[in-house]
């Protein structure tokens, strides 16, 4: 009974055990930085704050977890920005051609071509960057930091025509 009660107490108070709650990632430092107009310089701000607020955040494991948290956050933002652009592109492609002008290229196809090219570029760049550190404990984190940075920059590029 005593063991069961202890287990129940632990289950009800997960915040009392920081090591089990994962990195303390918060997107606030990124969004605040973006609101101040610092653009791509804001990529990495969330991971940076995370390493300082997460117990053990300064270790390779802690740093890697914080980087991965921000990378995943940017990935969601990228998908949202891409979907927004795709919806706009579909709308643009439905517009009637302007008489006298050459037919406009498909915005949907142009957007898809860019995103495919970006994925190839990201994979080549980050594989190379990871390899610069190969053999060291930070190699994986270097590759993931590259993916975080590039995903953030591409998100901001996609947002840029909206002024975000």
């Amino acid at each position: 009974m005593r063991l069961t009660l202890s287990a129940l107490c632990l289950a009800l108070t997960p915040l009392a055990v920081p090591a089990q709650t994962g990195p303390a990632f918060d997107s606030g430092p990124i969004t605040n930085c973006l609101a101040d107009g610092h653009g791509t310089a804001c990529v990495g701000r969330g991971a940076e704050a995370c390493t300082m607020t997460t117990p053990g955040g300064g270790s390779n494991v802690g740093y890697g977890a914080c980087i991965e948290s921000e990378r995943a956050w940017w990935d969601i933002e990228l998908n949202a920005a891409y979907q927004m652009r795709m919806n706009e592109a579909r709308s643009i492609d439905r517009e009637a051609p302007i008489p006298g002008l050459r037919p406009r290229p498909s915005d949907v196809e142009s957007l898809r071509a860019m995103q495919r090219a970006w994925i190839t570029f990201r994979d080549a760049t980050c594989a190379f960057e990871e390899l610069q550190w190969w053999g060291g404990t930070g190699a994986g984190a270097a590759g993931n930091a590259c993916r975080m940075r590039m995903t953030g920059e591409q998100t901001l590029y996609l947002r840029s025509l909206l002024g975000g």
């Binding site: 610092h38 142009s110 860019m114 570029f121 190379f128 053999g135």
Partner: protein
């Protein structure tokens, strides 16, 4: 306008553009402040203010040439290590082996596609200016990424 801007850009050699349209030290001093994003496009803007709006394409091209020069310098330093990196990746069985030439080709393909997409959002005179501005910004960011990679090398 796009054809006009392209004609101007093609008519002047890259080095000559940088010589008389912009002072590289202005960008270098800006970069020293650490606010890299704010430095991109700054000199092209000053150039346009001095030379007039019709020189916008030329000014954007001049600053793009500056950043391309920085990218080339960083690539030259990375190339010195490439043999070691290739040998290491072969030993570790990394497949495909990432190569500098592959990265640069993929960057060029991405930049062309990204700028074609952005260019397509505009009509009229803005068409060519957006294309030139896009090339400047993506080239500058890529150059800075290469620079930071070099600076952080183990």
């Amino acid at each position: 306008m796009r054809a006009f801007a392209a004609l101007i850009l093609l008519s002047a050699p890259v080095g000559a553009q940088g010589d008389w349209l912009l002072d590289p030290m202005v960008i270098e001093q800006c970069l020293a402040t650490g606010l890299v994003e704010g430095c991109i496009g700054m000199v092209a803007q000053r150039c346009e203010q001095a030379e007039g709006a019709m020189a916008r394409g030329l000014c954007l091209g001049a600053e793009t040439a500056f950043w391309q020069g920085r990218a080339d310098a960083a690539l030259a330093r990375l190339a010195l290590r490439e043999g070691d990196v290739q040998a290491l990746s072969s030993r570790r069985g990394v497949d495909p082996v990432p190569a500098l030439a592959t990265i640069e080709a993929s960057f060029t393909a991405y930049r062309d596609a990204a700028c074609a997409w952005r260019e397509g959002q505009w009509d009229g005179i803005h068409h060519g200016w957006e294309w030139a501005d896009c090339r400047l910004r993506l080239t500058a960011r890529h150059a800075w990424m290469l620079h930071e990679t070099v600076e952080a090398l183990p």
